[in-house]
Amino acid sequence: MEQSVNFESFGFGKRLSGMLKVDFKRMLKSRVFYILIACALVLPILMTVMMAMMDGSESVNQQTGEITIMEGPENAWQNIGTLPGGEDMGGMDVFGMCNINMAFMGVCVFVCLFISDDFRSGYAKNLFTVRAKKGEYVISKTLMGFLCGALMLIFYFAGSALGGAIAGLSFDLHGLSYVNLAMCLLSKIFLMLVFVSIFTLISVAAKKRTWLSICGSLGGGMLLFMMVSMISPLNATIVNAGLCLAGGVLFALGLGAISTLVLKKTSLV
């Protein structure tokens, strides 16, 4: 008797939702995710409180006798962006190096480890054997990276406010409104899509070579890193948010297509 096989079709939605469900569960079970979120929350608190404690303290240079007076933060929102009349963000001091934009680099570690783990464990092999669509894989990873990045930004924002409150700093927005603050955060969240798309592309190209993907992603991210504070300032409006959203979507689509092509044209093992 001739044997036959019944084929069951899985639609795009079912395949993607399955993959997203797995990636979401994996993210919630991942230690790196919690470490990054904890860092995003604790770093601004520690930094703000410590800098506030050191405010006004003097240090004397033993050779020149020059006296330097430490300047602590005056405003809780200094970690998020530059207030009108304030100094530019991104200087080579602790505040400049460890502001909210750090999250863009932090998420790089998450995306690179998440994707390289897929290839190292053989999960990607199983996935591509039973699920033929590479594009869906890229969508799923980009969304997970975006979610992690967005959460890091939100936690950093909350940490800054909390740190400011603990240190007794001013919450005055110097003529800006809370809408500006929200738009600034929203712009950064949308910009996260640009960074995550870059990290995803580099990670799928590097596959199981974690260090290569982390170094490549940090290098690639650095090129755009300086732009973040300019595109998403503290006085951001809906125009900034809209531009960031458009940029994020364009980057995600363009780089997502390239990532899919890379997966299609290269060996998956």
């Binding site: 044997q3 079709s9 994996r26 053989g122 092999k125 199983n126 591509f128």
Partner: protein
């Protein structure tokens, strides 16, 4: 309909041709033993079947459809090198993730059923990284079995297993194909073990399929020989070498006569030459010897 039908498959890595015009037919319901030395192109062929590396030429049909067809893919389970488990998660959690990925309804029940099938139900709570090699291989097969695939592609699943592990794995293979719905393509270097379960064989060398056969054909092809021991082995060997075309001494110290003959004829001949035979028997060469013979270019 065949489970896998490959015609003229080739794969080039730069100037190196890893697989060259390979033809292969895996019937449905078979346990197909895919045999070849290291670097012969077994894994490359399996990876191409699974769509993990692009082919340079030829065609791969699975159940009569192109191997890239997404509906066909959903019918496959694969264990190539790593099984796709995350070390920090338990066996059960890893299986549940795979079940979610495959959108399996009643996932928990299916996972438990599959773990029972590979005799791993007692170790479901163990972290994957703490499992022994044998357990990891079985988890890999369980992962491949989730979603009720009808074609399993297993690359060297017997590697590193102890005797009991091998026995369990053989039982699992037989359980998998018992109802005739599923097909297994399995590559292994452990030919003796493979011979105990395989129903079909394909032998690959330098990227080319040099022969395909059923277990029955192999059985018929495996020549019988007369093995004997005598008090004067070196003289016996010399004497037998004069009369027969192929006489070899095996690792156990027996002289083997591969020509068409009988133990009676050999004993009579040696008796006439004054050599007493201490032990004599007839036996059949196994898959391993058949393979070595074939690689040497013998018959």
């Amino acid at each position: 309909m065949n489970a896998i039908e490959i015609k003229g498959l080739s794969k080039n890595f730069g100037a190196k041709q890893a697989v060259c015009a390979l033809d292969m037919t895996v019937p449905m319901g078979a346990i197909y033993g895919f045999i070849g030395e290291n670097g012969s192109g077994k894994s490359t062929t399996e990876k191409m079947i699974c769509g993990l590396i692009p082919k340079s030429g030829g065609s791969i049909k699975i159940y009569g459809r192109d191997h890239t067809d997404k509906d066909v893919r959903a019918k496959m389970g694969v264990l190539i090198e790593a099984p796709g488990c995350f070390g920090g998660l338990s066996v059960f959690d890893n299986m549940m993730l795979q079940a979610a990925n495959l959108s399996i309804p009643n996932a928990e029940r299916e996972v438990i059923k599959t773990l029972k099938m590979v005799r791993m139900e007692g170790a479901a709570g163990n972290k994957y990284k703490n499992c022994s090699l044998g357990m990891k291989q079985r988890v890999g097969i369980a992962m491949a079995l989730l979603g009720d695939p009808t074609l399993l592609v297993l690359d060297e699943p017997l590697n590193g297993l102890d005797a009991d592990g091998m026995r369990i794995m053989r039982e699992i293979f037989l359980d998998i194909v018992r109802d005739g719905r599923r097909t297994i393509l399995v590559s292994s270097h452990l030919l003796g073990e493979l011979q105990k379960v395989a129903t079909h064989y394909g032998i690959i060398r330098h990227g080319k399929m040099i022969c395909e056969m059923t277990a029955e054909q192999l059985d018929a092809d495996c020549r019988t020989y007369v093995a004997l021991q005598s008090a004067e082995m070196s003289r016996t060997k010399a004497l037998l070498g004069c009369k027969y075309t192929r006489v070899e001494e095996d690792e156990a110290g027996y002289l083997r006569v591969y020509d068409q003959t009988t133990p009676e004829e050999v004993v009579t001949y040696l008796y006439k030459e004054g050599i007493p035979v201490t032990e004599i028997k007839t036996d059949k060469i196994g898959l391993e010897e058949y393979y070595i013979d074939l690689m040497k270019g013998g018959n």
